[in-house]
Symmetry: C2
Subunit: 346 residues, 2 copies
């Protein structure tokens, strides 16, 4: 199976998408086609034997062919006397982290052009990329999250008890996130967050909280899980440290929390994944506080696809690629328009 990786995109995580995509060479045994979405949303076909991160920082990717979306795929424009050319591939892997890839824009575009792809569909992207909507959704599917307050720019922010963690509603990879210990730090933290977004959520910050990650997917109605990992942690992971995570290919160490907690984490994952995330491999990050499991965040397109958490990622990936959710057929007829026409004709 030939996989077209669409990566880059207009996103604060543009760069880590490049790193993540290059890591796929070591992880997947498929033939790969690299389609790079640049800062202007122009799409380029990068030969997979040439790809390296420098190509993008230097702008040299521009010497390769431009590619356009079309129904069922992508094409390169022909010259005056040569035909447009299709790109040959079977399934797209949407690996644009953050904006474009994870906020539903790219999934919608792929959907619009009827291109089969691995990634959450639009709804799931929206629910997981917006932390405020994640909270509401988690509550609806009966998964715990930490208490929070939600503010939009201009509203008066009131914090009862410090420390808190303040996050822009929509970004990933710790961008714009601050741990706030005093009232004095609050204004500055808000300014930082509002640089990136027009809304924030504020949660209690629990120092040394236990965090556990679980990745998984649903294939043919059956869940397939990774191991549970306790990621190495600083006070919280900053962008530099998370960045390294996106090129990670060596196996992670499994942690055993005992049957009860292991099951609670898996059960929470299932409730979140539900039917909404079908077609995707996601990683959920959980907190455990006083033996209770809380969802921290949903990584709808995790760094390097969280390959390092799976026993046999390549196999899982190919199983999913050949079992993507089918779309409901929507019949379009003109029953009512015909009725109007008929009554006009009377």
């Amino acid at each position: 199976m030939k996989i077209a990786i669409v990566f880059g995109g207009v996103s604060f995580e543009h760069e880590i998408s490049i790193v993540s995509s290059i890591a796929m060479k070591d992880v997947l045994n498929n033939e790969l086609v690299y389609l790079f979405l640049d800062a202007s949303r122009d799409l380029y076909h990068i030969p997979s034997d040439t790809i390296n991160s420098k190509l993008f920082s230097t702008g040299n990717y521009k010497k390769f062919d431009k590619v356009y979306f079309q129904k069922n795929g992508f094409y390169k424009k022909g010259g005056l006397f040569s035909k447009d050319k299709d790109i040959d591939f079977d399934v797209v892997l949407n690996l644009s982290h953050g904006g474009d890839g994870e906020d539903g824009i790219l999934s919608s575009v792929l959907d619009f052009y009827d291109i089969p792809f691995i990634a959450p569909r639009t709804e799931a992207c929206v629910v997981s990329s917006n932390k405020f909507l994640t909270k509401g959704y988690a509550t609806s599917v009966k998964v715990n999250t930490l208490d929070y307050k939600y503010y939009t720019k201009g509203e008066i922010v009131c914090v009862d008890s410090f420390p808190v963690i303040l996050k822009p509603v929509k970004l990933g990879s710790s961008i714009g996130v601050s741990i706030v210990k005093t009232q004095e730090e609050l204004e500055y933290a808000l300014d930082v967050a509002y640089e990136f977004d027009n809304a924030v959520i504020i949660e209690p910050f629990i120092s040394g909280v236990k965090e556990y990650n679980l990745a998984g997917t649903k294939i043919d109605g059956k869940f397939r899980f990774s191991i549970i990992e306790e990621p190495q942690k600083a006070e919280f992971l900053d962008f530099d440290k998370k960045y390294l995570d996106f090129s990670r290919t060596s196996k992670a160490l499994e942690v055993d929390l005992g049957e009860k907690l292991n099951n609670e984490i898996k059960d929470s994952f299932k409730r979140i994944y539900n039917t909404l995330f079908e077609g995707s491999i996601i990683r959920c990050d959980f907190f455990v506080v006083d033996d209770k499991v809380y969802l921290n965040e949903i990584n709808s397109i995790p760094g390097s696809m969280a390959n390092y958490l799976f026993e046999d990622f390549s196999n899982l990936f190919n199983d999913l690629a050949s079992n993507l959710p089918s779309k409901k057929h929507i019949p379009i007829n003109y029953e009512y328009v015909n009725k109007i026409q008929a009554s006009k004709g009377k």
Copy 2:
């Protein structure tokens, strides 16, 4: 200002989108450009002086020019020796009701190609087109909704007390909706709903419940509301009756519920609209039960844009069209890639 109306789309409400769009001729004083998205998601430029509903039911729209999305707009393909031609317009009005238009697909595509448009952005589309997510969102912004249960296909459905109203999670215009009065009717109603969707919500059905509609938008940070209407109602509006609503251009009658309820309805609208719906004109449908306001549903692209509820719709529309929300600039640099390259070079 020249308005390009994108309508049709892969949707159970494809037809009413046609009716809605044609109604815009009587409502807007702008020059209109009609772009029709057919059942195969091919886009056609329909001359505004020729447009009528029969054009679509007969398939005669296919004699007009095909149009393609491109950065900042749309183009028609030129011949061998003629250049591709841009379509001239200022702002798009997304008037594709139901799927494509309201589920975030079309808004994402417009966003992807940097085309200015009137409609909710992707997130707001997702929140309002999925009734389960609407419930979660309403709760998060402290707006009441009726109690509900959520089921996905295959789950055992348990109803304590009849009658209930059973709705597919994702469709509008009463498609697939049933009022269920007995246990015996339940199976059939589920079968009907699952024809259209793989998830349903079930709410208590309150016979003769008072319903009130309010439309509005936010321009330059200020809310602008329509009148509140008590729509004429059968037991519930079926598709035929709703259909007529989509071609409605005559003014509605205002209802005055007294200061307290009027304000509660407007306040609920504001909480829903929030920052999420910026760029759109929406209609919220509320129930009032025992003097308490409940959100029933959000019409993110209401039939004929709910023009009939506004004093001066055309003026409101033009004000919004010239004050669309701007996107945050996302700087793309290669700081980290350069860092990696530098450390490799050492």
